[in-house]
Symmetry: C2
Subunit: 348 residues, 2 copies
Amino acid sequence: MEADKAPRVLAVASHVVSGYVGNKIAVFALQSLGYDVAALNTVQFSNHTGYGQWTGTKVSAQEITDLYNGLCHSYLDDFDMMLSGYIPSAEAVVAVGNMARELKEKNKGAPSDFFWVLDPVMGDNGKIYVAEDVVPAYKGLIEYADLILPNQFEAELLSEVKIVDMESLKSAIQALHDRYRIPHVIITSVNFSRPGQSPSHLSVVGSSMASAGKPRFFQITFPSIDCYFCGTGDMFGALITARMREAVRAVAGLIDRPSWLSDDSVTGIHLPLARATEKVLASMHEVLAKTRDGMQSVVERTKAGLTEEQRASGTGEQQIESKASELRLVQNLESLRSPSVKFEARPI
Amino acid sequence: MEADKAPRVLAVASHVVSGYVGNKIAVFALQSLGYDVAALNTVQFSNHTGYGQWTGTKVSAQEITDLYNGLCHSYLDDFDMMLSGYIPSAEAVVAVGNMARELKEKNKGAPSDFFWVLDPVMGDNGKIYVAEDVVPAYKGLIEYADLILPNQFEAELLSEVKIVDMESLKSAIQALHDRYRIPHVIITSVNFSRPGQSPSHLSVVGSSMASAGKPRFFQITFPSIDCYFCGTGDMFGALITARMREAVRAVAGLIDRPSWLSDDSVTGIHLPLARATEKVLASMHEVLAKTRDGMQSVVERTKAGLTEEQRASGTGEQQIESKASELRLVQNLESLRSPSVKFEARPI
């Protein structure tokens, strides 16, 4: 951490009262790593939507803009970084984009270049789960971001390249660098196995472009945990925001350069982006493994606490499963701060 | 922490995008001490109101009730504790009270008694800063809480005893035990100096009632830091929630008793409430001292970053001062977790 000042991050994502997705992950993860986090919550829901039922309200595009203006008038817009996750409508995506562009302009250069990490939350596994007009709204914004974190399906939507193997994945990343001039890309879940198959390992593939727009690829493979967790993408986003800045600061002068882009002489596996991703995946693997190990006891405890009435109605399996698979962040602070497992970036 | 389960706390308070008051303090402080925190935000403001300007919206009583119902339907209402802070209207105070009473009923007994820490946020220094009807709303609820944390002025409002010296303060606490049967009370800022005088030391005075409703007093005195900080009451509330449970768990069987009330043989300075308060004040003193030490550099950095336009308008002193005095929680995690200074409870 800088001697005097904790780096300031603006995190724009959803808030759930109970559990861990969106800003509920981002705020804790970034604070644990020493960041001063401003949290602009795009929704307040009782719990994440994977439970199949929830209550709460969404924030409008106008409210997002108002909150931003409030920050500006109180001299609180001196952010070093921004992380954006789930945004509930196309209008709100545009509002967040305007905010990010203004912040980039204001906080350019000294002492470090403003850096926007954008997770273009649109869908997964071949399905769009936001309003259709959110997709073109994101396409209009990607060029202003510094690092984007699409999953495989979102990378297809943005690049318009169908991804079926490593070659087409590389073409998609090349297309993202070419079309949007986006400096850094990580595809956060690469899986070429057939639907229904459970792969034993998963990969992420990343690239930071060289000056001619040429990609510099790296790949990191890690064991898959056969269990469905919500919030893994949000956890990746929060941790990569923290770790990217750390990895960049380890290279003299790099943090002052536009978009923190390394010299052309640096190859894929030696990128700060690769170093950061290695550390993020190590933390995630530990937290997910420990979450899985604790699931059964949550199921049992919750079932033991049901009232006669709840027991008689016989429903609630989906809610209890969702509760049991909430990420165990608070219990595993050390895994966030200094994970012990190691994964290594490889060339493709 | 319990072997398998992080204790679950429901924190009901305000949320600010930037800075540290309300739930922005409570969530981080409690999570840092190993608690699984559900955060029900009663407002989302850009920054705290001490800046003199802010934007954002308040949550209605209906929205609070809806969020609570959402939690119940997802089997997420198995809370061990609740902490309530700023609530924006009398209707919302009643909604929070209903929620607390239901949770107390549901989570009674096994494995530990549900415990509600209520900070009756109404005013300070002789001035009410909430709607007038919030005062009777709180008066109707105090009897359901386990621990209340009024400042000296709020203690006067609730007890209807004018506090001018230690004797009248003791009468006020006795009146709170008598009138509301409230088991634990801490008056969080005791100051008998004349208005305008800056005392070198401040006190908190607490009591846990014995079985006959008799108070058991203790007092802790600590050096005053001559500087105005927002959020100190919220920080006290968050930390006492965590530390009270720890202190109670150190006494065999105590956590299973209604309202965690110690045997009559335990005197004031030996109460778990006294142990907890000592630890809270140690953390607070360190964080406040470090915040004060860093203020000048925030003022200078913010002024250096002003645009020509901002500089010409010549305003903003209040905002810049407020920004500089935001509590430095993230930078001082160790002071939250294991403070080194020590303050000791004394009899009165």
